[in-house]
Amino acid sequence: MTLLDFARGPALQWSLIIFLVGVMWRLVGSLFYMARRDLARPRHEGSIRDGLGTIATRSLPAPQFEKRIRFQHYSGYAWHIGLFICVLFFAPHILFFESVLGFGWPNLPNGIILVTAAITLALLIALLIRRATNPVLRIISNADDYISMAVVILPLLTGILAFAHIGARYETMLALHFLSVESLFIWFPFGKLMHTALVLPSRFQAGAMYGRRGVKA
């Protein structure tokens, strides 16, 4: 079995199993952890509406805070969007999805994907440097923060190298690309990448809790 066979075969299967079981385990464990009913009478009715409202409003920084967090907020959006464009609209990725799902969708030109990937990678590296040098980020960061950044950066980096035929031969680089994506799948349930699944419940409960008090959170 070649490295590429391993990466495309058992490594992919096991990483997906770890991903799915881990995500379910953590989601169920978090969302069903000792829920307590608030016995205080609400000042304001409409918790569900308030919760949904906060899911929407926290997508943008509050105007009062906007100037203080502009770079961080919008650079976060930028790299997420860049990553999704590369994952979902690169022709070989769509072929891969088609082989699994049975259907595909139109791709973007390779040039656009390459530029997007390069910008995304540059942003992530800038954010990594910022995390290591900004006093606040440095003091609050732990291993999870760096591992999570690494498992997002590596698939982008190996993808660009494989596409551009830089470094090892194509098959090896492609195998490394697969393995780096699989490292992301494996780490996903253990680290902060889980915010992808938890951000909506977290925002919702903030909106609902404050909403009971008559505060638009």
Binding site: A62, I139, S141, K192, V199, Q205
Partner: protein, 444 residues
């Protein structure tokens, strides 16, 4: 009848002596850690678990913290202040604890000691960071649990622990008990303000605080004048008059529950339909939001902040005000626990509008309002005075930016802290209570 400099000086001296001759319980380090963990476990609920699981360590919360803004000290980043709780959760309670345990350090007593100034001196639980977090995480709730854990570990700062002990053991705060209240009400009666005591039954029970009795008798007098215009039977209760809850502020759950139960039981016995919480933000949070959950049931009466109550009575037409602003302008300081944490924004502004007073909003107001800098009993901690003063400078800048004639608020503790900040920085802006403005402008 405004609070004089002498009264403020006397009160500050009283606060300065709180930590003296204070016998602290001796607790072994292992026991401290055990107690903190037990409290963390019992207080941490599903909502907080989701919050702890969702944090991405983006650090944006720092930009909302007045202590971080005032000093630039990265250890004041709100998420940093709850790090022991986060680690404890991850290691011992989280769904993946079996994975994290070998890689996650256990709590130590030294660490708990190290976090004491971050949790008590450098956080007022104002909740401004709650409004900033892109994940919707409530760090102020975690700070409450951190304080609970440190309190059970015997690590509350001396001054606050002394006040907590006093309320727990004697039922008084700053030495103000039933006798001191009677004397205060007798003084007010001599000035023509009658406040009924222990009249039963009564529809409305009005609470006050030791800080009002000592520092702001004029607020108490104003409350009496306002209540005398309303068509309700009302009273204060000598066995449950103080709405302060030092247990909630220190993190001592037993004192918190005892203080809340005393008010609820006395008001229930009195047959009250409404309990009016005085101009004190934390008291509202303790009775209105946390009380029912502490006691296991909602009380058989409504709980209203004084500003909410006044607004309702003016709207219903029971209370008539003279609209004589005379060109006066004020800026309204939202007490964190009444405003951002309880939604009482509009009522005080509605009352100021009814008085014909122009409101000039500070750049940060309502949900984004800056804390006075000394909330959550931070202002009784003597060692943190320099830090508090730096935070006050933010408020001062905000107030100065409005060019308003005076600052109005509806929290006696915010008022004390702002007055101290003003006195120590030579700032001459008047800090007034909402109830006094109302009482001075009651229409016939």
């Amino acid at each position: 009848m405004n609070t004089s400099r002498d009264t403020l000086r006397d009160f500050r001296e009283k606060m300065g002596r709180l930590g003296e001759n204070f016998a602290r319980e001796v607790v072994a380090d292992d026991e401290r850690v055990r107690r903190a963990k037990t409290t963390f476990t019992s207080k941490l609920d599903g909502r907080m678990a989701v919050d702890l699981e969702t944090c991405i360590h983006c650090g944006m919360c720092a930009e909302a913290c007045h202590f971080y803004e005032a000093t630039g000290d990265e250890s004041y980043a709100p998420v940093r202040k709850v790090e022991p709780l986060r680690r404890f959760y991850r290691r011992e309670l989280s769904p993946l604890r079996w994975f994290f345990r070998p890689f996650t350090r256990d709590l130590t007593a030294n660490e708990l000691r190290e976090w004491q100034p971050l949790v008590y001196d450098a956080c007022t639980g104002c909740g401004r960071c709650d409004m900033m977090c892109p994940m919707g995480i409530s760090i102020s709730r975690m700070i409450r649990v951190m304080r609970d854990g440190l309190a059970s570990a015997g690590l509350v700062p001396d001054e606050l622990q002394a006040l907590d002990n006093e309320q727990r053991d004697k039922g008084t705060v700053f030495g103000v008990g039933a006798e001191e209240l009677r004397q205060c009400l007798a003084d007010l009666a001599q000035q023509g303000v009658e406040i009924p005591l222990d009249r039963q039954p009564a529809d409305v029970v009005v609470l006050t605080t030791a800080v009002e009795v000592l520092m702001f008798k004029e607020t108490l007098a104003a409350t009496g004048k306002i209540m005398s215009r309303l068509p309700y039977s009302w009273t204060m209760l000598s066995n449950a008059f103080d709405a302060s809850n030092l247990g909630m502020l220190s993190g001592d759950g037993a004192t918190q529950k005892k203080a809340t139960a005393a008010i609820v039981d006395a008001a229930r016995t009195c047959g009250a339909k409404t309990v009016v919480v005085p101009e004190t933000g934390h008291a509202y949070q303790a009775l209105r939001w946390e009380g029912p959950n502490e006691l296991g049931e909602a009380p058989p009466f409504e709980v209203l902040a004084l500003s909410e109550f006044i607004a309702r009575e003016t709207e219903s037409g029971h209370l008539k005000l003279k609209k004589q602003g005379n060109g006066a302008s004020v800026t309204y300081h939202d007490p964190c626990r009444l405003g951002r944490q309880s939604g009482v924004y509009d009522e005080p502004r509605q009352v100021l509008g009814d008085l014909g007073i122009e409101i000039r909003e500070a750049d940060s107001n309502r949900r984004e309002n800056y804390c006075c800098g000394g909330g959550c009993a931070e202002y009784v901690i003597q060692r943190s005075a320099p830090l508090r003063q730096k935070a006050f400078e933010i408020k001062r800048r905000e107030f100065d930016g409005t060019d308003a004639d005076a600052v109005v608020t509806s929290c006696a503790n915010c008022r004390v802290n702002l007055m101290i900040g003003a006195a120590d920085s030579g700032w001459d802006r008047q800090v007034e209570g909402l109830a006094e403005l109302v009482a001075a402008n009651l229409a016939d």
